[in-house]
């Protein structure tokens, strides 16, 4: 593994089903009696982890701005604002001017009510095409497209928070989140930038999002279980509303301005296999070799981004079991059990939780009672974060306690 300049995490912004802000997340996840917040009735047979009640006005003061965003953008802009404030960048025009955005995003919310009205009428029309034109011309809100466009989460972050150094949006489900962290890590390492805001957001409470994933039969449609316990019923993921943002910063830049680290990002690596039998394990094994040095120093706890989708969840489990037998990894925690699967935001969320655990000097207690997640005593010095796509893409990051 080649290491360039050291990369620190100096700001974290989180918003999810279990709370707002990183302190609330630490408190909730360290509490062994706390449980996942799951909504099973509203979209039955599908469960979702709904967003905690939040006053968006605290990060997005203008109602007109809020109206021009769809749900995923409001969640993301809110979490991004928390991260910028946490890092001490909020309101600092000079630093925001050089803050580079690398955002992982999908698409925003459709107007499901309009879709329904059209679908109910269209087949009975003598000229369905002309009807569709007329219905869309009169029914679509003119600004809806700006709420859907992938890069308009980044755009809104620039507008609301004034972070404008540069702006890139990656797409491609889970591993776009890994690639976003990787890209910032590489650019800082090579001296192409000092300050990055990286993250993503998912609004899980959307029927159009559920339909998109259920076309591929990727959703869990049975009573709620932990991600490790879904395999015998075919697997599936439970979407979780979440916004997760990280400020990544060159160590020397942070030290110059008095920024404090949660953790150091020691390495981030990605690849994409064709997902034939054994491919996931082989890819992860190859990626792990990039981290061989720091991983070789005793069992490292794992924050797994496992989604519950099969067969990839079982393959990840087999890979982690192998690393455990080799003495490389120790306790595993699949944070998706507690927060749901947040797709593009999921890996930044895992990295944020790993950084928080390193700063707290404590791993979260098990989220699962099946035996997969063993207790962990002591203070973690490094944490491995996994990010595997439900369909494609494999990624790993290693975080270390910052010196």
């Amino acid at each position: 593994m080649t290491r360039g300049r050291e990369v620190w995490i100096t700001g974290i912004g989180l918003l999810s089903s279990i709370g707002e802000g990183h302190s609330a997340h630490v408190r909730e996840l360290l509490d062994p009696t706390a449980a996942a917040k799951v909504e099973e009735a509203r979209f039955a047979p599908y469960a979702v982890h709904p967003l905690v009640a939040v006053d968006f006005g605290r990060q997005i003061p203008k109602k007109s701005d809020q109206r021009q965003m769809e749900g995923w953008q409001r969640i993301g802009v809110y979490a991004a604002g928390l991260a910028l404030a946490d890092a001490g960048l909020a309101g600092d025009a000079a630093l925001l001017d050089v803050t580079n955005l690398v955002i992982a995003a999908g698409n925003g919310d459709r107007d499901c009510e309009l879709d329904q009205r059209i679908l109910e009428q269209i087949e009975a029309q003598p000229a369905p095409g002309a009807y569709l034109n007329q219905a869309l011309m009169t029914g679509l809100r003119p600004t809806l497209y700006l709420g859907e466009l992938s890069n308009l989460l980044a755009g809104n972050i620039s507008i609301i928070h004034k972070a404008t150094g540069s702006s890139r949006t990656f797409k491609g489900e889970e591993v776009s989140g890994v690639s976003a962290v990787e890209n910032a890590w590489r650019r800082i390492g090579a001296g192409e930038g000092d300050l990055f805001l990286v993250g993503g957001a998912l609004n899980a409470e959307r029927e159009d999002l559920l339909l998109g994933y259920e076309l591929g039969r990727y959703l869990w449609s049975h009573p709620f279980r932990s991600v490790w316990q879904r395999g015998d019923a075919g697997g599936g993921f439970v979407p979780g509303s979440a916004g997760a943002f990280l400020v990544l910063e060159a160590r020397e830049h942070a030290e110059r301005r008095g920024g404090k680290p949660y953790a150091e990002v020691a390495g981030v690596f990605t690849d994409r296999s064709r997902r034939g039998a054994g491919d996931v394990g082989a890819t992860l094994t190859r990626l792990t070799r990039e981290l061989a040095g720091p991983l070789g120093r005793g069992p490292v706890p794992v924050l797994s981004g496992a989604s519950g989708v099969e067969p990839v969840t079982t393959e990840e489990r087999a890979f982690l079991d192998g690393l455990a037998r080799a003495g490389l990894v120790g306790a595993v925690r699949a944070f998706g059990t507690r927060l749901g699967h947040s797709v593009e935001a999921h890996f930044p969320l895992g990295v944020a939780l790993a950084a928080l655990a390193l700063r707290e000097r404590a791993l979260f207690p098990p989220f699962d009672a099946s035996g997969m997640e063993q207790p962990f005593e002591g203070e973690p010095e490094r944490i491995l974060v996994t990010g595997l796509g439900h369909w494609r893409g494999e990624g790993l990051a290693l975080l270390e306690r910052a010196n």
Partner: protein, 427 residues
């Protein structure tokens, strides 16, 4: 003669060794360049779907690839594959299904289109339900798995990776109408950092479908000059009234100079500089003072170690909207000063329309062909100049000129601004 493999900043020099293109003018470099330099328009009346009741009924569709039934995913994939095949063939790099570098690809939204929604609704096994619940019942049958690929943002990249054997996790990206330029920037960065010796950079878009058109129409972004489609896109002219939505794609094979020289490849140009700056002013408009575009231009000149005097030609973003063309002029004037009056600037979009996500890729390909051939493609439909934009737009007819260095601009919704400086082979 051996050349220096590093630039003024000590970074590896990034060169171009392959180009591929598909637009409304046709497939491939020869057909496109021949028509582009003759001032032919690819804009026409839409025949793909009924246009009753629409304010805009024209587009630059790609009709030269066999892709039925149409979906944005299917056609965008076909365009991407056609352009990459042409670019890799020209570069002669790697082997069949084995491209020795990563893929950076700009793709259109992966989203529901109406034919699929209608089918799910009509074929649902539970017609007692309404709306999305009814379609979810259809999805649960598992009969529509093949359509799910159209909704995965990783899909087009996945097809490309499978076919061309690119290395590692491909990056699919969106910086709106700057996306194509971002792919080249990211490829150049990966090579400069030494992570790769080559990169495949592709932009593709094929979203001329009812909702794709209507959402731009509702933002008042499109020309409504439906009666004379070929005259509708008129960048920098007084009566410009919006852009013409179009489809297309471009592919660029980047390589380190060292790698290209070692295998004796023909070098088509150099990626000398890239720069980007985000605007915080508005979702669809630039800051009135042009600060973000100016920032992107200055960063690009700085990255290239170039000055305005070095620029022989500007390949404009030039969308033909009143706002864009004005802001592009104001920003260029601020950075190039008096030099701007002496630099030819033209907009390919006057002929191929605005290929949106792919525009930066398409225009990078045309910029590099301008360097190679010494012919500057015109801005057509420049019948009535806008007196507030005093520019040499290479009006209506192509021009021969020695062009060593091109500035290519790309600006997008959401405050995305990316510029490239592309140069002739050094020495």
């Amino acid at each position: 003669m051996a050349r220096c493999n590093t630039d003024k900043k000590g970074r590896r020099v990034v060169v171009v060794t392959g180009l591929g293109i598909v637009t409304s003018l046709g497939r491939g470099k020869d057909e496109n360049w021949s028509k582009l330099t003759k001032g032919v328009s690819g804009v026409r009346s839409i025949t793909r779907f009924p246009t009753d009741g629409l304010r805009t009924t024209i587009a630059g569709t790609v009709d030269c690839l066999d892709c039925t039934p149409y979906s944005a995913y299917a056609l965008a994939s076909a365009i991407a594959e056609a352009t990459a095949e042409e670019a890799i063939h020209q570069a002669g790099l790697g082997g069949p299904g084995r491209f020795p570098g990563p893929l950076f690809i700009a793709t259109p939204p992966s989203e529901f289109e109406w034919p699929l929604l209608r089918r799910l609704y009509a074929e649902s096994p539970d017609p007692s339900k309404t709306g999305y619940k009814r379609m979810l019942a259809a999805a649960r049958t598992g009969s529509y798995k093949s359509f799910q690929r159209e909704l995965e943002f990783a899909s087009i990249a996945d097809r490309m990776q499978e076919r061309f054997g690119t290395e590692g996790e491909p990056i699919s990206l969106c910086t709106a109408c700057a996306s194509g330029a971002t792919t080249i920037q990211m490829g150049a960065e990966a090579i400069r950092r030494g992570e790769a010796d080559a990169a495949l950079c592709v932009g593709t878009d094929a979203t001329v479908h009812p909702e794709g058109l209507i959402r731009f129409s509702l933002l008042s972004a499109l020309s409504t000059e439906n009666e004379r489609p070929e005259k509708a896109s008129k960048p920098f002219s007084l009566k410009r009234d919006g852009f013409v939505i179009a489809e297309g794609g471009g592919a660029v094979v980047l390589e380190s100079l060292e790698s290209a020289q070692a295998r004796g490849a023909e070098i088509l140009g150099v990626v000398s500089g890239c720069g980007e700056k985000a605007d915080e002013y508005h979702r669809t408009r630039s800051r009135p003072d042009g600060a973000a575009i100016i920032g992107a231009l200055r960063k690009t000149f700085d990255d290239a170690g170039a000055s305005p005097e070095d620029i022989d030609y500007i390949n404009a973003h030039g969308t033909s909207t009143p706002e864009n063309d004005k802001m592009e002029y104001i920003s260029l004037k601020a950075v190039l000063g008096d030099r701007l009056a002496g630099v030819p600037i033209s907009s390919n979009k006057s002929m191929v329309g605005h290929t949106l996500i792919a525009a930066g890729s398409v225009e990078a390909v045309f910029s590099l062909m301008t360097i190679q051939t010494g012919v500057i493609p015109p801005t057509i439909n420049y019948d009535e100049p806008d007196p507030e934009l005093p520019l040499d737009v290479v009006p209506n007819s192509a021009r021969e000129a020695k062009v060593r260095t091109v500035l290519s601009n790309s600006f997008g919704f959401g405050g995305q601004n990316v510029c490239l400086i592309l140069s002739a082979e050094p020495g």
